[in-house]
């Protein structure tokens, strides 16, 4: 079993957090429905070329926050996530992505107004393209 997850070498964000966020968004977007099996820690570590300890940390955090559960001897599965929690997480995932982009824009030297314009432009590019 493979997951569409990628770890960025460039990111300041720790690898375990990248894994955690991406699995969370797969769950709340419904792409990993309740009960779906997840790859074992060894297998996912191998797929992502990262250490077992890092993957284990991501799984532990996901388990603590109730997104996944481990059944002894059977494996790890997606847990039932409440609707309200799902909405909150969805928003958080998107907000974090925006924040990353804003951070990058700020580093390049753009002002708040300029970034706002670029944001509007990105919105029209993507939504208008879809309309065509």
């Amino acid at each position: 079993m493979k997951l569409p997850i990628k770890v960025s070498e460039e990111s300041r964000e720790p690898i375990y957090h990248q894994i955690e966020t991406q699995i969370k968004s797969l769950i709340v977007s419904g792409q990993l429905p309740t009960g779906s099996p997840l790859p074992s820690i060894r297998v996912l570590s191998s797929d992502l070329s990262c250490s077992v300890i890092t993957t284990r940390r991501a799984y532990q955090n996901l388990e603590t926050s109730g997104y996944i559960k481990t059944v002894q001897g059977k494996g790890t599965f997606v847990n039932e996530v409440e609707g309200s929690r799902k909405e909150e997480t969805k928003r958080k995932v998107v907000q974090e992505a925006f924040e990353k982009a804003v951070y990058q824009g700020k580093q390049i030297g753009y002002t708040r107004q300029e970034l706002s314009l670029i944001f509007e432009k990105s919105l029209s590019e993507i939504f208008d393209r879809e309309k065509e």
Partner: protein
Amino acid sequence: MNVVRVEGLTKHFKKFHLGPLNFKVEKGTAVGLVGSNGSGKSTFFRLLMNLVHADGGTVEIFGKKMPSSEIEIKQSIGFAANMLEPFYQLSIKEISSHFSYWYPSWNQNKYEDLINRYKLDEGEKFGKCSTGMKKKVDFIFSLSHEPELLLLDEPTAGVDLGSQKKMKEDLIEFLEDGEKSLIMSTHLIDDLKQICDNIIILSPNGKVQDFLRKEEVEENWAKFWVSELTEELRCHPHVIKVNDSQHPSYLLTDQKHVVEKELREKGISVISIQRLPLDEIIEFQLDS
């Protein structure tokens, strides 16, 4: 718990000295052994297996001493290191009957599954097999008696890509329950990235140059692209390499957080931070 404990292990040849080697392998982990040709990787495995006699030092496997518990220890080791050549006149099937006799834990079903999985013809004489096929046979024999520890000398060398992938899957499965351990030498960076937890780097003069833990590499090693490089930074104990022949300059560190703090305090702006890929670290360690 340590599965393998090696202390002060040495072997002297006329022109080459291996060791003194000191290292431990924790139960449930995979260790990759890298080093240039002639750095003693194969001798390393033969020393562990007591196939060449050490000039000094001790080897403990499963908490028991080599060579006094040699037979007992070897029952639980899967060893693949191009040692089947003397059987060149026998077919794979005939060799397997020897193995099943030597190892009480021999699992015939597992052996047959693996023969099919790697599409080998059991009737083929070992001597007639290609380099890659021999490697596969070696690999299959190392796994078929359900060992607790695998010692593999370049298992993927000369093996076709499809079978390399299968070997990787089989090794991951072997490691899955966290009870079994692996030491493998390799020249393939993907083997290290995808299978190994820790990496032993052997220097060209037969010493352990470094013992890398993958999680520490992920956490601590980084490349900083910076606006300027000061003399202080150049001499910083945790700055292990700088390149200022280009702009922007960069530095490599094995203590990301220490150097990041230092840069912030000195007001040097960081253009980008990258995690260091394993190959770059190994290349650096082998060069230094």
